[in-house]
Amino acid sequence: MRKSVAPLIQILISVTAFIYFFPILWLILTSFKYEVDVVNPSLIFKPTLDHYSVIFKGKIFHFLLNSIIITGSSTLTAMILGVPASYALVMAKFKKNGDNLFFWFISTILLPPVCVVIPIFIIFKNLNLLDSYASLIFTYSAMNIPIVVWMMRSFFKDIPTELIDAAKIDGASELAAFFKIIFPLSRHGISATMLLLIIFIWNEFFFALHLTYTRAATLPIHISTYMTQEGLFWAKMSAISTLAILPPMLLGWINQKQLVRGLTIGAIKG
C-alpha cells in the first residue's frame, strides 16, 4: 500500500526543494565572490576566500566569540537547572500538582518576549549589567529552562519505572539510580535537547538587541547592523552570514529525528 511515489512527482518535489533551498545556496555562493562580481547573476565566477580570511582577522571574530561563549554557557546552565527539575516532576508522585507545574513552565515559553523585556532592560540597566555576558546568559538560561523541562519530560516518561524500582530494591540510592540507570537511558534525549537549545540561543535576536550594544553583542546583532555601518559589501556580509547560519543548520540536519519532538515541546514524538 505504501507504494513508492510516481517518478513525475519525484522530479516535481525535487525541483521544488531545490528552489526552496536556492536562496541559501545563493547566499553561500555570494560569499565566495569578489565584490565586483556580486551584482552579476552568473553562476560562473572566479571564487575567492578573501572575505573569510578577513573575518578571522577583523572585529567579527569578537562577535563570533561572544556568540560561542553565550550560547555555550546558557545551554549548559539551562540543562543543569532544567534536567533535574524535569526528572523530579516526572518521578515524584505529586501527580496533580506536578502536571500543573508542567503547564506553568510551558505558559512561560508561549508568552511573547516583548511582554517581559521592559522590566528586564530596566533592572539590568540599574544593575549596570547592560551589554554584559551575564545579562544575556541569565536571560537565555531562564527562557530555555521550560523547553528543557518539557522535552526531557517526554524522554523520562519513556523509561519504564520498573527499572528504577528494581534498582532501589537492589539498594541503590536515588542519586546512583539517576546516574547509573536514568542518565544512560536518556542520553539521546539530553543530546537532542542540547542541540535544540544551541540552535535557538545561537539565533536569538530579540533579547540580544535590547540587552547588548557592542561589547557582548552576538552575531545576529552584528549582521543586522552591518549594512548600515559598513555600506554595501554584499559579499563580505554573505560570508559572515554563511558563517553564522552553518552551525545551526548542520545541527538541525543531524538532529532531524528528534526535531519534531523538540519543536512541539514533546507533544508529538515524531
Binding site: 531545490f18 535576536f205 547560519i245
Partner: protein, 294 residues
C-alpha cells in the same frame, strides 16, 4: 517520604529562575502600564494615570492599523504555511530515492537566524537595481519597465513571504510525523472495503491528522505572533506604520520613543491576546498528553 521532598527541591532553582525572568517582569510591566513615564521628557512627572494609555490606544487609528497588520501577518502566514506544509508532507512521507536529501533541503530555512534572512533578502535578493530579482525580472523579458521595489510597495506581504519560507518546514515536519503515525492496516482495510483515494483522505487520513494539524497551528500561531527580527531587519516597521506588528510597536514606543507607560500598555494587550490563545492550546495539549500517557 524523604525521597519525595528531596526530589521536589530539585525543581525549586528552575522555578525561581524562570519566575524571575517571566512572571515577575509581567507583573512589573502591568504596573508600568498605569504610569506616565517618558524617559526623554524629565519635565513630565512620573505619576499614576490609571487606564489612560489603554483608552488612548483603543481610540487611536495607529493602534487599529497595527492590530490589523498583526492579524493579517499572522493568519495569512499561518494559512499558507499549513497549506504548503500539508502538500510537502503528503509528497514526502513515503520513501523514495533521495527523499532524505529533499527533506533536508526543505527544512533548512527553519534554522536560519532572522537577521540573516532579513538582511540577505532585503539586499541580495530583493534590491530593485542590483538584487537577484532585477535579473530575474529582466530575464522574464520586461526590460523596459522598472523592477518593482517589493519591500517598499508591499512590505507586509514580503515579510509574510519570509515567515512562510521559514515556518513551512515546521508544519511539514509535524504533519509528516502525523502521516507516518497512521497504521498501514487501517488504510489497507479501507482499500479492501473499496474506498477511493479521496474517501480515504477525507474519512481516514484527515481525521487522524487533526491532532497534528491543531498542534502545529497553535504553536505556529504563537511563534509567528512573536515575529520581530524579520520586521526589524527588513523594513523597521515602515513605511510609516505599514509593516509594524505588535512586537515591533512595543519596541518602537519603548526603546525608540522611550515612552515606558505606553509601551507597557501595548505589551499587556499582547499578553492578553497570547494568553487567550495559550488557554485553548493548553486544553488541546492536555488532551494530547493524557491520551499518550494512557
Amino acid at each position: 517520604m524523604k525521597g519525595k521532598t528531596g526530589k521536589s527541591i530539585l525543581t525549586l532553582p528552575a522555578i525561581i529562575v524562570v519566575a524571575l525572568v517571566t512572571q515577575i517582569p509581567i507583573i512589573i510591566t502591568l504596573c508600568y502600564s498605569f504610569f506616565q513615564w517618558i524617559v526623554v521628557r524629565p519635565d513630565l512627572p512620573r505619576k499614576f494615570v490609571g487606564f489612560i494609555y489603554y483608552k488612548k490606544l483603543f481610540s487611536s487609528n495607529e493602534f487599529w492599523l497595527i492590530f490589523q497588520n498583526t492579524m493579517l501577518l499572522t493568519f495569512f502566514s499561518l494559512a499558507v504555511c499549513l497549506a504548503l506544509g500539508i502538500t510537502f508532507a503528503f509528497l514526502l512521507y513515503r520513501p523514495f530515492p533521495g527523499a532524505g536529501i529533499v527533506r533536508t533541503l526543505i527544512i533548512s530555512p527553519f534554522f536560519i537566524m532572522d537577521s540573516v534572512i532579513g538582511v540577505f533578502w532585503r539586499n541580495v535578493m530583493l534590491e530593485p537595481s542590483f538584487g537577484l530579482i532585477h535579473h530575474i525580472y529582466n530575464f522574464l523579458g520586461s526590460q523596459s519597465s522598472q523592477t518593482p521595489a517589493l519591500l517598499a510597495q508591499y512590505p507586509l506581504f514580503v515579510i509574510s513571504a519570509l515567515i512562510i519560507w521559514k515556518w513551512t518546514p515546521f508544519f511539514m515536519l509535524v504533519l509528516m510525523a502525523g502521516l507516518q503515525s497512521i497504521p498501514l492496516e487501517i488504510l489497507e482495510a479501507a482499500v479492501v472495503d473499496g474506498t477511493n483515494a479521496w474517501q480515504r483522505i477525507y474519512r481516514i487520513i484527515l481525521p487522524m491528522l487533526m491532532k497534528y494539524i491543531t498542534i502545529s497551528l497553535m504553536l505556529g500561531l504563537i511563534f509567528i505572533l512573536k515575529t520581530f527580527g524579520l520586521v526589524f531587519t527588513t523594513t523597521h516597521g515602515g513605511p510609516g506604520f505599514a509593516s509594524t506588528n505588535f512586537p515591533y510597536y512595543v519596541y518602537r514606543t519603548t526603546f525608540l520613543g522611550w515612552n515606558i507607560g505606553k509601551g507597557s500598555s501595548i505589551a499587556v494587550i499582547l499578553v492578553i491576546i497570547s494568553l487567550s490563545i495559550v488557554m485553548v492550546l493548553f486544553k488541546l495539549l492536555r488532551k494530547a498528553i493524557t491520551e499518550e500517557d494512557v
